[in-house]
Every structure is written in structure tokens, then in C-alpha cells.
């Protein structure tokens, strides 16, 4: 098993005819992702990617004609929230939005719509989701992953890869890895992902990678203390970040007392999570926990 996506996911790519959409659709198909359709407004009726994938004007057409139930969004920031809302209203179950730079005003509205329609949104500003050897819905390098029993949740793209690499180096594979995104408002939170991994019978441990800014890691840790039976290794990036400065990600900014790396690491530890002080220790710590189980 796995969470969110698997080999049965029927994927529609929003923005499939753009350069990002083309490149990553090819990469995803190479990994084995079942892409059934693409959407680009005004290009309905075309076939793309060596004439194999039909393009529609609307997501609802892809749902009706190709039974798409999962979408991935590669459209520019001004139109990204619109694309999310379109997917949610068309009845898509899992929506991944890769786009970086979506205005927060657009996102708080889009998220309300997603909730009302019982869809699940991952992102925006994220590398996507990968269920190892089954479905890659994102821009991560699939070849670094190996199938196994560890779930990975991260706010950051390249830190997700770093964690996966370390896990593989100590002999631990993954079930599903999720880049949840670094924006202030994102579709699926760390807590939501933990809850999914807790239910997944194949996942035996989870790595969570957070950063400065917001309360998401704390909310997840407090939830885990009450509800999680599986061990968690946590890391928080930004121990050396100065307050009041946005560190790349729109959401990575220290504004109050509880959103510093130090405070988050302390609270994670208090909630029973094994905290890696150094990013280089994530893999080893998880290995030690798995060996003593």
C-alpha cells in the first residue's frame, strides 16, 4: 500500500503543452505514471507527447472522457489557483500544484473550495508526491528512491531528496514521499500527511522535514503525540536564519516566538519525536530506530 497515489491513479496534466508540462509529463510517464489526459485551454482536440495523450480544454472533459481522478498543475502563477479550483469542481480526488509564486489571496480561496469539494490538494510550490515504483506525480528525480517502509513529508524540495538519499544509503526504502510546499497557505498539512501514513499498513516510520515559520510542525507533533503509533524522525531547517527575513520560501520567515527552528525542535522533542540536530543525521537516526524495533 501507499498513500494518496498509486499505480491506479489516472492522471490529467494541467498545462501539458507548456515547456515544463511537456518535460515533466515525459519524465513521469517514463517512471510509470498513468497519464490519461492533458488540459490546455484553447488546445482541446490535439494529441501530445508523440501523439499518445489527448488534450482537452477543460478538466471536466478529461474526467468525463478519460476518467481522470488525479491532476498535476504546471500553469503560471496568475492562473494556478484557477486551475486548482477547476480541478476541485470537476471532482478530481488528488490535486498536486507544482507552481511557485501563487498569491496567498488566491490560495486561501482555492483551499476553501478544495475543502468544500472533499478533494485533497498538495502544494503549491512543491516538488509533488511519489509512491515508489508506482506513480510519480511531480518533478522529483525518481531514480534516487527505493521501495520500502518509510514515509517522507517535507516542506522543501531538495531537502526531500536529501532525506531520501540518506535513507537509501542506510538501507531504508520509502512508501510514499510528499513535498507539501513552502508557502504560508498549502493544501495538505504535515498533520494531514501523518494521519495518512499512520493508516497505511506498509509504512513503519515517518521522516518529517520542516522549517522556520508558521505552526504546522508543532500542530503535527502534538497530533502525533496523541494519535501516532509509528516512530517519527524530525528535522527543522533554519536554525541560523535571522528573524524577519523571508528565506526563499514565502512561508519561511520567523515572525514570533514559536516559529523559530529552536522552538519547533524543542516542541517536537517534547512530543516524542526523534529530532535530528544536523541534517546529515536523518538517515542514521531512522536506521537506529528501525533496528531496535
Amino acid at each position: 500500500m501507499s498513500i494518496l497515489i498509486d499505480k491506479n491513479s489516472r492522471v490529467v496534466v494541467q498545462g501539458i503543452t507548456g515547456s515544463e508540462g511537456q518535460f515533466h509529463s515525459e519524465q513521469m510517464m517514463e517512471y510509470g505514471t498513468n497519464i490519461v489526459a492533458g488540459v490546455t485551454p484553447g488546445k482541446g482536440g490535439l494529441k501530445t507527447l508523440d501523439n499518445t495523450i489527448p488534450v482537452f480544454n477543460l478538466v471536466s472533459e478529461a474526467v468525463e472522457q478519460k476518467k481522470a481522478n488525479t491532476s498535476i498543475i504546471f500553469v503560471p502563477p496568475p492562473f494556478a489557483a484557477d486551475a486548482i479550483i477547476e480541478s476541485a469542481l470537476a471532482g478530481i480526488d488528488v490535486i498536486v500544484c507544482i507552481t511557485e509564486g501563487v498569491p496567498v489571496r488566491d490560495m486561501i480561496q482555492a483551499k476553501e473550495i478544495v475543502k468544500k469539494n472533499n478533494s485533497t490538494l498538495i502544494g503549491p510550490n512543491c516538488p509533488g508526491v511519489i509512491t515508489i515504483d508506482e506513480c510519480k506525480l511531480g518533478i522529483m528525480p525518481g531514480f534516487i528512491c527505493e521501495k520500502g517502509n518509510i514515509g517522507v513529508i517535507s516542506k522543501s524540495g531538495t531537502l526531500t531528496y536529501e532525506a531520501i538519499d540518506q535513507l537509501v544509503n542506510v538501507g531504508l526504502g520509502q512508501t510514499t514521499a510528499i513535498g507539501i510546499g513552502g508557502d504560508p497557505v498549502i493544501g495538505t498539512t504535515m498533520k494531514d500527511c501523518l494521519a495518512l501514513f499512520e493508516k497505511d499498513t506498509d509504512t513503519e516510520g515517518v521522516v518529517i522535514i520542516g522549517e522556520i515559520g508558521g505552526q504546522m510542525e508543532i500542530e503535527a507533533a502534538q497530533w502525533a503525540q496523541q494519535n501516532m503509533s509509528k516512530p517519527i524522525v524530525g528535522f527543522i531547517a533554519g536554525q541560523t536564519a535571522p528573524p524577519g527575513r523571508r528565506m526563499g520560501h514565502a512561508g519561511a520567515i520567523v515572525s514570533g516566538g514559536d516559529d523559530t527552528a529552536e522552538a519547533k525542535m524543542r516542541i517536537l522533542e517534547e512530543c516524542g519525536i526523534t529530532v535530528a540536530k544536523s541534517v546529515a543525521d536523518i538517515g542514521e537516526l531512522m536506521k537506529n530506530i528501525m533496528n531496535t524495533k
Binding site: 496568475p78 489571496r105 483551499k111 516542506k155 538519499d165 508558521g214 536564519a241 526563499g248 546529515a280
Partner: protein, 391 residues
């Protein structure tokens, strides 16, 4: 992105929010002329910098005569204004705002910002205006009244009334406050602000509600549709290296350490700074080169990092996903050759085509210290920085 108070007040006037009459001034002469044009006394001479706490630092003063305005303008223009928010270096004052004084009866606080936990905008008011709101929040949180705004509905009149009742307002002042709160939210929404703060918002003795301050932050992701706001950007308030980096699509923040770093991805960049510190060094910067680390980006990255004389060694840490490590390696070799680098450079490349990259670095003949894994990289770069610093 931030703007100055006087620019915020232009926005307020556009959205129908009462402000005192005021005129921006860039020189002593413009200041005294503003005084004559306003034709009122007293006036307030206000330093315009992108930081709060200006009054405390001596950047906001009352003047009653032409001579007083002249003297204050002379004193404040060009001064290094130090406030709790500027850091110890302070900020040079280049602009003033000359504003009519107000006949204040009561001072309030009002602000709108995003509540990240609730994922809604929160509108806060308090009767404790004119003072540090952080202190009020800590000591007497019950004195802050909050309403949360449904993103699909927008602000409703009853919510604005709730805020005005909370301030104890009655009659005409109540009605005016309700109207101003609605306009404030409209202004916040229409400009894609991430913070709109008025401290103080006052009730005058003749029962009007007037904004004496205007502090804005804007969502930089939304600037593509906010041309009017973008025109208000004052680059002289920003770090020149950070501005230059942003021209190359690099995300750079200068820090005080001696180990420079160049990384792909914001999270990995922060983690790299952290591990440099753990290895006993101090990071000199945050630099995210993003998804396109080619020879040109690496070269520009080097230029910006090395413009800081404190830097004694540089760590390049790239986890190639879509970015191919062999291309990055070629970029590093080319940049090191062209720039004739004097500082030691430690390179850690992992991910797509990492093996090919190692070969390229090894065979290039340029003196690059290769590293395997982040711990190894951090230890090597810190040792190199210490070594270089001792020379």
C-alpha cells in the same frame, strides 16, 4: 515588499480612509514649503524609512513654526535613525513627511494580516493604541478584539460593527469607524497586502476617525498584478547585493559569517547554513540558485558571495533533481577559471549525474575540494575558512 508611510497614505486617500493632510519632502526647502502649503500649526515632521518604532528613535517630532520645521528637517534628513526594528546600524533618512497635527481624543490600534493557522485574514483592533502592540498582546490579550474574515464572503458589516463596538465607540464616531474598517479591508484586499497596520488610529475631539499611520507589507507573489504598488518600491531601502542578486533570479540574503554558500533549493540552503554552524563555522549568506544552476548562475553567485570581504571559503551544495550535476560541475569549473578565485571552494554534488560530475571536477585541474555528503562538506569548508583566515 514594503512602502513608506506617505505612500501608504496615498493609498488610504484613494480608498476613502481619513488621514491628516500631508506632503512628502526630500529636502529642507521642500519641508518648509510643505509647511507653508499646509498652512496649519502644529505639524508633525516624520522620518520616512521602512521600519517601525520611528518615534522612539527620534524620527517623529512636532513643529509649530517655519523655523522649527527648518531645524527639524535639517536634523532628521540624513541622520542614521536607529529604532528597535532597524538593527544597530540604523537607516539613513532620505525622505520626510510633513503632516498636519490632529486633535486627538482617543488612540486605537487597527491591523489586518493573514492568520496562517486559520488560513483566513484576521482584523484586529485595540483600545491600547499608540504603544507597542506586541506588549499588549502579551500582557493584556483581552484588550485585542479579533474577527476572522471568510475568504469566500469577504468582510461583513456586522463584523466591522463588532470591531467598532469593541472600541467603545458611539454615534457618529461609531458609524465612521464601521465605514473605515470596511474601507481598510477593501484596501488590504485590492492591493494584495499581507499586512495593513494603523497605529495609532485616532478619534479626534470632533468625533472623526483618522489614520495617523499607515504601514503596509505586500505579498511579493502578487506584485505581477499590482503595478501601482510596484512603482512605490524604494530600492534604496533594500540591501544592494540582494537587489543585484534578484536581478539574476538568485535569492540572496547577507549574514555576518565567513563561510559563503551556494545551494539549490531554499530548504537545503537553510540546512546548509545550519550544518556550517554545527561544524564550527558561521554562514556568510543564504543563497538559493533555484532550479537552473548553470555556469552563468554559478558565476553570478560567486560574484555576489565574494563581494563580501568576510568570506574566507565557499561551499557549493547541489542536489541535482532536474538540475544535472555534470552541467553544474562544468559551470563551477568555468566560473572558477574565469574569475580566478582566491578563496577555497568545497563542492558537494549529489543526484542526477553526480558521478560524471566528480570526474569533471577531478580532471579540470582547478583547485576544488570535493566532498561526499553534507557533514563532510561542512567540515571541509569550515576547516578551509579557518586555514584561509589565518593567512
Amino acid at each position: 515588499m514594503k512602502i513608506h508611510e506617505y505612500q501608504g497614505k496615498v493609498l488610504f486617500q484613494k480608498y476613502g480612509i481619513n488621514t491628516p493632510k500631508g506632503i512628502p519632502a526630500f529636502s529642507i526647502k521642500e519641508s518648509t514649503e510643505a509647511f507653508k502649503t499646509l498652512d496649519t500649526s502644529p505639524v508633525v515632521v516624520k522620518a520616512q524609512i521602512h521600519a517601525g518604532g520611528r518615534g522612539k528613535g527620534g524620527g517623529v517630532k512636532l513643529a509649530r513654526t517655519f523655523q522649527e520645521v527648518e531645524k527639524l528637517a535639517n536634523d532628521i534628513l540624513g541622520m542614521k535613525l536607529i529604532t528597535p526594528q532597524t538593527g544597530t546600524h540604523g537607516k539613513e533618512v532620505q525622505r520626510l513627511y510633513i503632516e498636519s497635527g490632529a486633535d486627538i481624543d482617543q488612540e486605537f490600534y487597527a491591523a489586518i494580516t493573514l492568520d496562517r493557522n486559520k488560513e483566513k485574514d484576521v482584523f484586529m483592533v485595540s483600545t491600547e493604541g499608540g504603544v507597542e502592540i506586541e506588549k499588549v498582546a502579551e500582557e493584556t490579550p483581552e484588550k485585542i478584539i479579533k474577527i476572522w474574515i471568510d475568504p469566500l464572503l469577504g468582510i461583513k458589516r456586522f463584523q466591522a460593527s463588532q470591531l467598532a463596538y469593541g472600541l467603545g465607540l458611539k454615534n457618529d464616531a461609531f458609524k465612521e469607524a464601521v465605514s473605515i474598517f470596511l474601507k481598510m479591508y477593501n484596501c488590504y484586499l485590492s492591493t494584495d497586502a499581507s499586512l495593513l497596520e494603523v497605529n495609532p488610529l485616532v478619534k479626534t475631539k470632533d468625533d472623526h476617525i483618522v489614520a495617523l499611520d499607515a504601514k503596509f507589507n505586500f505579498d511579493s507573489n502578487a506584485l505581477f498584478r499590482q503595478n501601482e504598488i510596484l512603482k512605490m518600491r524604494d530600492l534604496s531601502e533594500e540591501d544592494p547585493y540582494e537587489v543585484e542578486a534578484s536581478n539574476f533570479n538568485l535569492n540572496y540574503i547577507k549574514l555576518d559569517g565567513n563561510v559563503g554558500c551556494m545551494v539549490n533549493g531554499a530548504g537545503l540552503a537553510m540546512a546548509t547554513m545550519d550544518i556550517i554552524k554545527l561544524a564550527g563555522g558561521e554562514p556568510a549568506n543564504f543563497l538559493d540558485v533555484g532550479g537552473t544552476a548553470n555556469a552563468e548562475t554559478v558565476k553570478n553567485g560567486f560574484r555576489i558571495i565574494l563581494a563580501d570581504d568576510n568570506v574566507k571559503a565557499v561551499l557549493i551544495n547541489i542536489f541535482g533533481g532536474i538540475v544535472r550535476c555534470d552541467r553544474v560541475a562544468n559551470g563551477v569549473v568555468q566560473a572558477v577559471k574565469e574569475l580566478g578565485l582566491k578563496v577555497p571552494v568545497v563542492v558537494r554534488l549529489e543526484g542526477t549525474n553526480a558521478k560524471e560530475a566528480q570526474v569533471i571536477l577531478k580532471e579540470s585541474g582547478v583547485s576544488i575540494i570535493p566532498a561526499i555528503g553534507m557533514k563532510d562538506a561542512a567540515e571541509k569548508v569550515v576547516a578551509a575558512a579557518i586555514n584561509n583566515g589565518d593567512k
